[in-house]
């Protein structure tokens, strides 16, 4: 076999189309686009070049829309796809099984902190997938929706994403950049006659993808796909799947469901199953989604995306046992799946096994992930697993890597370390620093209040607690703390109200119940 000679610049005999194709295969999309552009300029009817250009542009701007689901503020507020208005617990994403008291699934709220949606803090932030607030919220829907649709990780004062914002803006931004890019002109789709193209499935498929992923015009794609699927006499699963996708993007969920189901009937693929499950999740029917996942996992045993999606769903439903079991399965198959590793680390950390969490975090580190969050988790796991020499270096590294918003969390954790060591001065300063970076960090307020109380500044402590419970009504600690302080000061009415608020946030809180009992005794004495 002759060794292939390397390409020389003077070797102009290479078929330009072949050249473009090889660039495409090597993921060098810009070069590919340039070459296709020149080909099309020579012969504007060159179908092969047209198809390749479509494919290149699509591949350049492709976004895995199964992973990325951005629900804008308007969608969250005016969600009327939900079928049941008063769902039974466990059958809707808005009413997950009431937290940890259900047969001991996972640690209680006293051990594992709860995020603003009312579910335990997860290990891996996915972009806005589990954004629906649970029904047990005290704040009204708008504030919660605003806090939710802000990008996770940023402070709550960040901006919410408006409807389909990311998708639209990406499209527009890249259009603009393409204009300056010499090679590729955008293809004018307005004048295209879909009938003609429908008869040529290869071109039509490339065009459809282009419409969906680059131009973000699901309507047009819908027309094209409808024509094409008719041409293919409804036997091609690919067209039905694309149809379903377009319907989903347009918000016609029931039609999307139909298309996906018939596509699965033709030829079941993992992707279609996942998209069908996503439709059910959007309709707030987690049990139907679970069924789809089950069937898919039977058909494609061991497929990771199905398992991961199922695990995510169980986590959203607050069933952490099943979720963890599935993540373990994922890790067994795919040892570098960051999401599974992170979730397992969080779970073990909060179940009192920090050394196991440490091992998972180390594996993530070995994979090359190096972010503030990971170093922070490593530091905490080391500290609580009693590996003190490593703990502080990790936290230091986390601080170094931190950009603005996240360093508040790191300072907060440094404060916790300080409390653990007994150095209250260090803790005080760290909490203040955390607050200076993120003034809405309720946990820092609470801890600062406790430290002030120790120093004897009762009013400042009360102020801090009331600030914290105003910022985060889902936390029970500040409410309970201010109830206790009010009780000690003799303000029983205030203590009673706050203790009830604490119980609302965490119904199993033993101390709040004791406090209420004592208050009842006091009230009855009159």
């Amino acid at each position: 076999m002759r060794a292939r000679a390397p390409l020389q610049p003077q070797d102009k005999k290479i078929n330009p189309f072949f050249h473009a194709l090889s660039k495409y295969r090597r993921h060098q999309y810009d070069d590919c686009l340039a070459l296709c552009g020149s080909l099309l300029r020579q012969n504007s009817r060159d179908q092969a070049a047209f198809v390749l250009k479509c494919r290149a542009i699509t591949a350049k701007h492709w976004l895995d829309d199964l992973e990325v689901e951005v629900e804008g503020l308007a969608d969250a507020l005016m969600e009327d796809n939900v079928a049941a208005t008063a769902p039974r617990p466990g059958t809707s994403l808005q009413r997950p099984l009431s937290s940890a008291q259900q047969a001991g699934t996972g640690p209680s709220q006293a051990v594992r902190p709860v995020s603003a949606t009312g579910r335990p803090v997860t290990g891996f932030t996915r972009p806005a997938t589990s954004a629906r607030p649970t029904s047990s919220q005290q704040r009204d829907l708008i504030t919660t929706a605003m806090a939710m649709s802000a990008r996770p990780g940023t402070a709550a004062s960040g901006r919410p994403v408006t409807s389909a914002g990311r998708l639209v803006r990406l499209g527009t931004a890249s259009m603009a950049s393409l204009g300056t890019d010499g090679g590729g002109e955008t293809i004018q789709v307005d004048g295209i006659d879909f009938h003609k193209y429908a008869k040529r499935p290869e071109i039509a498929k490339a065009l459809c993808d282009y419409l969906i992923y680059f131009l973000r015009q699901p309507r047009k794609a819908l027309d094209l796909a409808a024509e094409a699927t008719r041409e293919a006499s409804f036997a091609d699963w690919w067209w039905k799947e694309r149809l379903g996708k377009c319907y989903f993007q347009l918000g016609l969920l029931r039609e999307a469901e139909k298309q996906f189901r018939s596509s699965i009937g033709n030829d079941s693929r993992v992707v279609t199953n996942l998209e069908l499950a996503r439709v059910y999740l959007k309709l707030d029917q987690p049990n139907a989604a679970l069924e789809v996942y089950q069937k898919a996992s039977e058909k494609f045993p061991g497929d990771i995306s199905v398992t991961v999606s199922m695990a995510r769903l169980y986590e959203d439903l607050n069933d952490s046992q099943k979720s963890i079991g599935l993540y373990k399965r994922v890790v067994a198959r795919d040892p570098v799946n960051a999401e599974a590793l992170a979730c397992l680390a969080a779970h073990h950390f909060y179940s009192d096994q920090p050394e196991v969490a440490l091992r998972f975090c180390r594996r993530l580190l070995l994979m090359g992930v190096s972010s503030t969050e990971l170093w922070n988790n490593l530091g905490l796991a080391c500290f609580y697993a009693a590996q003190y020499d490593l703990a502080i270096t990790c936290l230091d590294r986390a601080l170094m890597l931190a950009d603005d918003g996240v360093s508040a969390e790191v300072w907060y954790n440094i404060g916790q370390v300080g409390i653990g060591v007994g150095d209250l001065g260090l803790s005080y300063q760290s909490f203040k620093l955390a607050l200076s970076i993120d003034p809405n960090h309720a946990e820092s307020h609470t801890n600062l209040g406790v430290l002030e109380l120790r120093k004897g500044n009762i009013e400042q402590a009360q102020l801090a607690f009331s600030h914290a419970s105003r910022l985060a009504p889902h936390l029970y600690e500040p409410a309970y703390n201010s109830a206790l302080v009010a009780f000690k000061l003799g303000d029983f009415q205030d203590a009673f109200n706050k203790a009830n608020m604490a119980l609302q946030a965490y119904p199993g809180h033993h101390e709040s119940k004791e406090l209420l009992k004592q208050l009842k005794l006091q009230f009855m004495a009159f």
């Binding site: 901006r159 502080i392 200076s436 970076i437 009013e459």
Partner: protein, 657 residues
Amino acid sequence: MISVGSGATAPDPLPPLEEAIAKERDDAASPAAAGGGGGERSGTQDYQQRKSGPWLHAWHDPVAGMVCFSQHMCVADLHGDGDHRLVLVDRKKRIRIYRGTSIQWEQRLLEPPVAVQCFYHDTATPPIPTLVVAAGHQLFIYRHLQPYMKFALPPLPIDEREKDTWNRLEGLPEGEGVEEAFNQLMKLREAGVQLSRRSMDLLAVDDVAQRAKTAEEHKGVPLVQLPAISCMETLRQNIDQPTGVSVVVVAAEAFSHKGIIFILNPHVDKILRKVELDGTPAFVHCLGLYDVEYRLTVATRDGTVHTIKNGALLGSAVELETPCCGLVRLDKFIFVGCMDSVIHVYHFKGKKSHSIHLPCPLTTLTGLSLPRLRVQRALLVTLNDGQVRLYGNNGKDLLHSFSLLNDDIVTGALFGQYGREEGALVLSCKSGAILVKILSRTSTLEPARSGSSLSDGEEATGGPVPAEQDVPLNIPKKTRLYVEQMDRERQSAVHMHRTFQRDLCRLRLKTARAYVSNLVDMGQSPTSVPSTSGAGEAHLSLTADVIGLTGPHFDVQLRIHNAGSHALSNVCVMCVSSPPGLYALTPAMAPLPLLLPQHTSVHTIRAQEQPPEGGGAPTGAGQVRCFVVRMAVEGRGHQAARPLTTVYVQMPISEGG
């Protein structure tokens, strides 16, 4: 306090109906259990638990429609045929007699009844008891299910002066003399005279015109004060046998806050004895024999428990903290149920033994007494959440507890012989249902120890050991990794410690540096450290929120909290946008009202993003810096160089005009 023992069981898995009946029949191993009306197992589907602890479910009628209290229920062998009947009266003036699972007899009463009792008035054969229903101030006696006699309690003596006052009013036409009568009665009351109900009504009326009307209503009606019966019991006269002749003990309210106990002879035509006491009696319990020696325990509505021994009121009375809602006497102990969900247990001589704390208020308190068992006595408590609890050992052990289905609450409970079954518990529920349970013959009223038989399916947690001790703690397993790490610690302990301390010092230094730089920058945070710039006790804290989704209009809401103890005046807030010119702030400088101590005042500033000069690209979000400054007052010092507090507010990105 002695902790309550546990005996609560998990309910048995539900066996089908026929199997359960056959099983119970085998268990009982006696034909008598299956016979008799009370043994019918015609439970409805709701009560699928055939066996629940020592209780066998016998009968449930969910639509009986009789809501009875404990005093309205009684069991007796009304026809002398050994088949005891259940007599129920309710406030709808009905009396109903149940035989087995069906109604034998039902009639209307003349007045709403207060209590019902059955007792033997003489020793004839066959022994037919008398049924007496107390209502108002009268006793209605039934024999052979026919109304037989009526006995009215004598009216109470009224003070002469009161009689005179009313007599005087009689002669006068309407409206006249009412005021004098009123004043007279008021004087009498202040002098401590017990007034009749009519006078109390008149004294209670405030309105003058109304008084005349009230007085008018009572004219022409003779002034009598009749005692109002509140409860009734029977006391054996000389033989302590179930068919022994008994006397009737009636407790009534005489005047307000005064009660009388009447003891009537078995034929209910003569009053044998009368005892007066302070406080309206609510519950009465009898012990002993009338002819020999007897004790009556009386609980009054104002929370006192008196004892009457042989007709004389004893001086020592038990004072309760909360009013009493149930009274039971078993042997030597008095169980008093109070409204604060506690049952106090007293020795009959008056000394307190212990208390039983309940999770929720109790509705009825009944005593169980079965001579055939070794342990003869137990206490039955029903709670407000539908639970029915059985306590043994003088209330120290919780033997068993079950809950009624359908959120029902028991209003009346009675334990006695029903049908041919000796240990039957009849429960009347708030929904009008009647429930009959039978104490199983194989059960003893003892806490379950290993080998002892309370019922199958029960854990042997005898004694005062609480059930919570059996639940294992949720400790995670020791992992191998943990052991390895412990090893590492043990081996390189010194090195770890040194590294840790060095890192800790470095961390402290770093934190302190960051903190100081934070302070020096005069508060980058919206919750800044208040500055004590010699401006007196100026403890201010300032927080800021941004309202507005997309702009270009935003509202910055400042909350200024004065945490000090003095009010602060002459302060104003100044705002600056940075980069300058990005936001147009209205108002840029505003005086604040008087800042009261411990008070948060809210101030809003409108920020509008200006389009960039010269049409350049939008520069992104900026900051708005707000300062709270003390204003210079004419002729009084110069303006402070430093602001009191500062806040830098990060504005969100606006989506343009």
